[in-house]
Amino acid sequence: MNKKQINNILIWFSAIVLIILIMTPGLWVVLTAFRPQVDVMAKPAVWIPRNLNLIQFETMLFGGSEGSMGRSPIPVLSYLRNSLIISFTSTFIAVLVGTIGGYGFARHNFKHKNKYFLLIMLTRTIPGISLSLPIFIIFSKIGLIDTHIGIILVFVALNIPFTIWLTDGFFRQIPRAMSEVAMTDGCTKLQAFWHIELPLSRSGIASAGIFAFLISWNEYALVSNLARSTDSKTLTVGLMDFTAQFTINWPGMCALAVFIIIPALILTFMVQKHLVTGLTFGGVKG
């Protein structure tokens, strides 16, 4: 074996170890969702599943009582509705506002521009959970606890800085001459943005949208404080419904987790083209 082969083996070996490290918890979640509670709780652990079933999903979606440990089914569809409303609305607002902000930072010069930019980015350094108490107190005073609007507001605030940062970078890649030419071609500033710069930065905007959506979709800590009932509880918060005083329905929880992952996966696959292609420039030199 020569040096190159040894190198290759080492690279493959570490890659496989890394993949196992990353994948195992996820696989375990998926596997647990299809296994009976006895198997899951067995000691010593049963590594290779002996039997698999769909009971948890049936219970979750159709409210069957068989095998769900006698507990009343969890209102998954309400949670799903809440999750969808909150994630999509907050993503839409954050991307809209953030894109305008990013464009402003990329294209316009104003006093203390860099300081403002830094300030906006600094808001992301604060751990979200440390904001939960102040947000809770404020929201309880103005009646936003357990409402869609309240949670949407929090996600919009969380996602705008990131969207600004990402779209700013994309807008900077578009040569200024592009909108200048459009303006001499008869466009107003807004038309130039709409017809030229927006389509050219759609990969960036799509990426920003995916990230914003995933953050909203997956967030647990903040929402768990702000959501009290089926009026606003999201799927992730709903996971805790599977815990009782003395027991945790692990297979049920994992089934819901799988249910949470699927839409996120579908969405990511749908827009991944934009994530990877980046900008295909032919309009300028090179």
């Binding site: 030419v181 389509p199 309009g283």
Partner: protein, 364 residues
């Protein structure tokens, strides 16, 4: 079709004044080239005409209309950019038709005008392609097509050829000239390349540090440079320039270089200089003739010097030699082999020697 007038136009970037109160009148259908080294204010001036930069001072008119406060789209100008700035997400046809679509023209008319422009520029076969599928020269042509399709009052070109390789640049230069003949519209063209300026322009405006050094036809600038800067900027190779002071020598005024070489002041300039004045004198490469290979001028001053380097270019050879301590270049048109260290006699044509005041830089 329109003339363009700039009156006392200035541009500031912070505290730096990039354009300093320039006055300029561009005649209808003229091909005017703004040329100068980078940072001379030529691009800023062009962008002010286009409406892409604020006019900080002065007035710009297109036709008889003041355009200071008009948006770019209201000025009816078309601009071609250095990096082409084609819309990468549109086909060539869409690129060409975009301005007409924005203007709300009927589909059929857009199609007609796009095909007409494509015909003029010979890009009809690429209409369905995206810009990324075109070569540099083709992209440049599309950029020009996009400009002409609007039938603007004025074309603005901002260094349109500087991204192309040398061969393509020559080819596109000819095409731009031909385009001007076909569409006969006022053109303002910015470049830093004096060859481009000389070959394309009806008139050239030479700028430096935000002011206009000289305006004139290419031959005007070549034959009668108004300043030392213009003299060295126009022409290739650059004019030889030597510092000297005026002394009295045998009842006539002469120029004494820093190395002590004494050259008589040309006869027609004898009354224009005074003893003790600091000047520079310049002469083009073809006006210092190696006597062995060329004809001696009628009013000549001779010197002997050895060859540092010879560059044979086919029809001509550039000979680098020393004038005192300063290296100068001489051009000869005979295909003779000259080698380094050859000792040659040179004759300087005094009738074609230019004098410039050292303090003001102005021609004497």
């Amino acid at each position: 079709m329109a003339k363009v007038i700039l009156q006392g136009v200035s541009k500031f970037y912070g505290k730096v004044q990039a354009v300093k109160k320039i006055d300029l009148e561009i005649i209808d259908k003229e091909f005017l080239v703004l040329v100068g080294p980078s940072g001379c204010g030529k691009s800023s001036s062009l962008r002010m005409i286009a409406g892409l930069e604020e006019i900080d001072e002065g007035v710009i008119k297109i036709g008889d209309k003041e355009i200071n406060n008009l948006e770019p789209r209201e000025r009816n100008v078309s601009m071609v950019f250095q990096n082409y700035a084609l819309y990468p997400h549109m086909t060539v046809e869409e690129n060409l038709g975009f301005s007409l679509k924005i203007a709300g023209l009927a589909k059929k008319e857009i199609e007609e005008r796009v095909h007409e422009a494509a015909g003029i520029l010979d890009i009809t076969e690429f209409l369905q392609r995206k810009p990324s599928q075109l070569s540099g020269g083709q992209r440049q042509r599309v950029a020009m097509g996009r400009a002409i399709v609007r039938r603007p009052d004025v074309f603005l070109f901002d260094e349109p050829l500087s991204n192309l390789d040398a061969k393509l640049r020559n080819q596109m230069r000819t095409e731009i000239k031909r385009l001007h003949q076909k569409v006969s519209t006022t053109i303002v063209y910015v470049t830093h390349d004096q060859v481009e300026a000389m070959t394309l322009a009806d008139r050239i405006v030479i700028m430096k540090d935000g002011i206009i050094e000289q305006i004139g036809t290419p031959l005007d600038l070549f034959e009668r440079p108004a300043t030392k800067f213009v003299a060295t900027f126009i022409g290739s190779p650059s004019m030889n320039m030597i510092k000297a002071s005026i002394i009295k020598n045998n009842d006539q005024l002469s120029m004494k270089t820093n190395d002590g070489i004494i050259v008589p002041v040309p006869k027609d300039k004898q009354n224009s200089v005074s003893e003790g004045q600091n000047i520079s004198f310049g002469f083009r490469a073809e006006d210092i003739v190696p006597l062995k290979f060329g004809q001696k001028p009628s009013s000549a001053w001779e010197m002997q010097s050895s060859v540092n380097l010879a560059e044979p270019l086919g029809t001509e050879t550039l000979i680098f030699t020393n004038f005192g301590e300063i290296e100068i270049v001489s051009r000869m048109f005979t295909p003779e082999q000259v080698k380094s260290n050859d000792l040659l006699d040179f004759a300087l044509n005094l009738d074609r020697t230019y004098l410039f005041d050292e303090n003001s830089g102005l021609a004497i």
